[in-house]
Amino acid sequence: MQPDEPIIRVEGLVNRFGEQVVHDGVDLEVRRGEILGIVGGSGSGKSVLMRSILGLRRPDAGRIEVLGVDALSEDEADREHIECNTGVLFQDGALFSSLTVGENVQVPLKEHYSEVPDSLRYELALLKVKLAGLPADAIAKLPSQLSGGMRKRAGLARALALDPPLLFLDEPTAGLDPIGAAAFDQLILTLQQALGLTVFLITHDLDTLYAICDRVAVLADKRVVINAPIEEVERCDHPWVREYFHGPRARAARDAGAGTMA
C-alpha cells in the first residue's frame, strides 16, 4: 500500500432500508493521518456509513476499501486485517457491562494476541486507560460505576487497545458538558498526533469540527456533497450546508475555534 493512497475509499455506496434509500452513490476518501469530520442531519446516514465501512452492515451496492483491502470481501484474513487495524468508539462506549474497565480493554488483546503474557497485557491495558485520560484506579471499576464522560474515555481506551492506525468515533462529545467535550476534543487531537492515527469522526458538534478536524465531509441528499477543509465547506452553497455553517450556533463555534487556533 502506497503511503499517499487513501486509507478508506468508498465508491458509489448505496444503502436501502426497504423502500427508504439512505445512501445513493456516496463517494468518500479518507487520507492517511487526517481527522475527517462527518456531519449531516439526523437520519442522513452517518452511522450507517460507518457501519458499512466497518462491515457491520452489507451495503446494497458500491465498493469500500479500507487499509488497501476490500472491506466487503468474505475472506477471513482480509476481515481480520481490518478488525485488528481499526478501533471503534460507539456512542455510549458500548463497554461490556459485566467486565471491569481493565478487562474490557484486555478483551481484544486476548482475542488477537493470546501469546502476550498476562502481566504485559495488564500493563498495556493500564497504559491505554491512562492514555485515555482516566485515573489508574478506574481500571478496576465496572462501567456502571463511571460517569458518561468516563465511559467514553474507557471506550476509547478499548478502541486503542491494539494500537490501530485507524480510529472510528461515533459522536464522541454527544452528551458531555462543554468543558468535558473540549477536553475530549483535545484528547483526540493529542492521541492522534502521538499515535499517528487517522480518525473518522461522526459528530454534530460544531466546536469539534472547528477545533480538531482537518477536513469535513457533509452527508446530505443521500450523498457526500462536499469533502474539504472547513473554510471551503463554509463557502459551499448547498442549502443544508449553508444553514448548518451560518446558523447562530456555528458563528459562536467559529469564533471560539479561531480563538483556540490563534
Partner: protein, 369 residues
C-alpha cells in the same frame, strides 16, 4: 493476519550501546520480552532510531526494561516521529492503581454481614411494598378512574391464558407420576384402588396450586421484573412520575390484579389436569377402568381439600406479582442489573411460595381442616 514486518532484533556495537532493529510492535510482544531479558548487562545507551515500527506495546516493553535494569530512560534515543508517542506514554506511566479487594477472614465476615443486612432490607422493602400496594388499591377502589382496564386485561391474557397449555401439560404429567409411584407402593398391600384418593388429595390440596405457583413464579415473576426493569433502566419510570402518573397504579396494580384473578383459575385447570393424569395411568397401567376410577372419585372426594388448595392461590399470586414488580423497580441502570434482578425475583418468589405452602400445610393440619 498479514504481517510481513521484520521481527525485532538487537545489535550491540560495543559493550554499552544497544541498537534496536525490526518491528517493535504488539505482534512481536513475546519476542521483545525475550530479547530484552537476554540483553547484556551494563547498558548505558540505547539507540531506537533504526526500528521499522514502534507502537505503545514496544515503548511499554522498553520502559519496563529500563525500570528493571535501573537505566535512566533519557539514554534511549528515539526517532523524531516516535518522540510524541514515547512522551505521551512516559507521561502517564508512573501512576498505578491501589490494590482493592481483600481476601482475609475478616473480609469474608464483613461480606457475610453485608449480605445479612441486605437480606433484612429486602424483606423490609417487600413488606413496605405490600403496604404501599394495599394503600393504592384502596385509593383505586374509591377513585375507579385510576383502574387501568386495558392493561389489566392484557396482563390477564399474558399470565393466564397463555400459560394454560404449559400448566395443563406439566400438571398432567405430575399427576401421572404420582399415580405411578403410589401404585407401586400400594400394590404390595393389595390397595391399588387407593391411588384414586392419593391423586385426589395430593392435587386438590397441594400440588395443583403449588405447581401452578412455581410455574408462574418462573414464567411471570421473571417477565414482570424484566419488563419493569427495562423501563427503569431507560428512565421510563421516572418519566411516568414526572408526567404526574403513579407507576404503582400504572404498572404494578394491573399486574397484581391480573395474577390474583388468573392464578386461582389456572390452579383449577392444574387440578383437573392432575386428576386426568391419574385417571390415564389408572386406565392403562393399573387396570382400573375409567368408570370405576370416576365412581371411586365420586364416593371419596371431599370439597374441603379443594377449598384448602384454592385458598392458597390468591396469596401465592400476591407474593409472585409483588416480588416480580418490586425487583423490577429496584433495577439500577445497566443491562446486567436487569439480569441479576430477574434471577433474584425467580429465586425469591419460588422460595417464598414453598415456605408459605409448608407453613399453611402445618396450620391446616393442626386445625383439622
Amino acid at each position: 493476519m498479514r504481517d510481513e514486518s521484520r521481527p525485532p532484533s538487537l545489535a550491540t556495537d560495543d559493550t554499552a550501546r544497544l541498537r534496536l532493529q525490526g518491528s517493535w510492535t504488539l505482534a512481536h510482544a513475546g519476542e521483545m520480552g525475550e530479547i530484552l531479558r537476554d540483553a547484556p548487562e551494563g547498558v548505558s545507551e540505547v539507540d531506537v532510531r533504526d526500528v521499522d515500527r514502534l507502537d505503545s506495546a514496544g515503548v511499554l516493553q522498553l520502559l519496563r526494561f529500563a525500570r528493571r535494569r535501573c537505566i535512566d530512560f533519557d539514554v534511549f534515543e528515539f526517532r523524531q516521529d516516535h518522540v510524541a508517542l514515547v512522551s505521551a506514554i512516559e507521561d502517564v506511566a508512573d501512576d498505578r492503581p491501589k490494590k482493592k479487594r481483600e481476601y482475609g477472614v475478616s473480609a469474608a465476615l464483613a461480606r457475610l454481614g453485608f449480605a445479612v443486612h441486605d437480606n433484612g432490607k429486602e424483606i423490609l422493602a417487600l413488606i413496605g411494598f405490600l403496604g404501599e400496594n394495599m394503600l393504592k388499591f384502596a385509593r383505586m377502589v374509591t377513585q375507579p378512574r385510576r383502574f387501568r382496564l386495558t392493561a389489566t386485561v392484557y396482563h390477564m391474557e399474558q399470565v393466564g391464558l397463555d400459560a394454560v397449555p404449559l400448566v395443563f401439560l406439566l400438571s398432567y404429567l405430575v399427576g401421572a407420576v404420582i399415580a405411578f409411584l403410589g401404585a407401586n407402593i400400594l400394590r404390595d398391600f393389595g390397595a391399588t384402588i387407593y391411588v384414586v384418593e392419593l391423586v385426589n388429595v395430593a392435587f386438590l390440596r397441594e400440588f395443583g396450586v403449588l405447581l401452578t405457583a412455581i410455574i408462574l413464579a418462573g414464567r411471570t415473576a421473571s417477565a414482570f421484573t424484566a419488563q419493569i426493569g427495562a423501563m427503569q433502566s431507560r428512565e421510563e419510570i421516572d418519566a411516568i412520575r414526572t408526567l404526574g402518573m403513579d407507576p404503582i397504579d400504572l404498572l404494578v396494580l394491573p399486574r397484581v390484579i391480573a395474577l390474583v384473578v388468573m392464578l386461582p383459575l389456572l390452579t383449577f385447570i392444574a387440578m383437573i389436569a392432575g386428576l386426568l393424569g391419574g385417571l390415564t395411568v389408572g386406565a392403562f397401567n393399573l387396570e382400573i377402568p375409567p368408570e370405576a376410577y370416576i365412581g371411586r372419585m365420586e364416593a371419596t372426594i371431599e370439597v374441603r381439600h379443594f377449598l384448602v388448595g384454592l385458598s392458597k392461590a390468591p396469596l401465592f399470586a400476591m407474593v409472585i406479582a409483588l416480588i416480580g414488580c418490586l425487583e423490577g423497580l429496584q433495577v439500577e441502570g445497566t443491562a446486567q442489573s436487569v439480569g441479576e434482578r430477574t434471577t433474584s425475583s425467580v429465586v425469591q418468589s419460588i422460595s417464598l411460595v414453598i415456605i408459605i405452602d409448608a407453613i399453611m400445610a402445618l396450620w391446616f393440619m393442626q386445625m383439622d381442616i
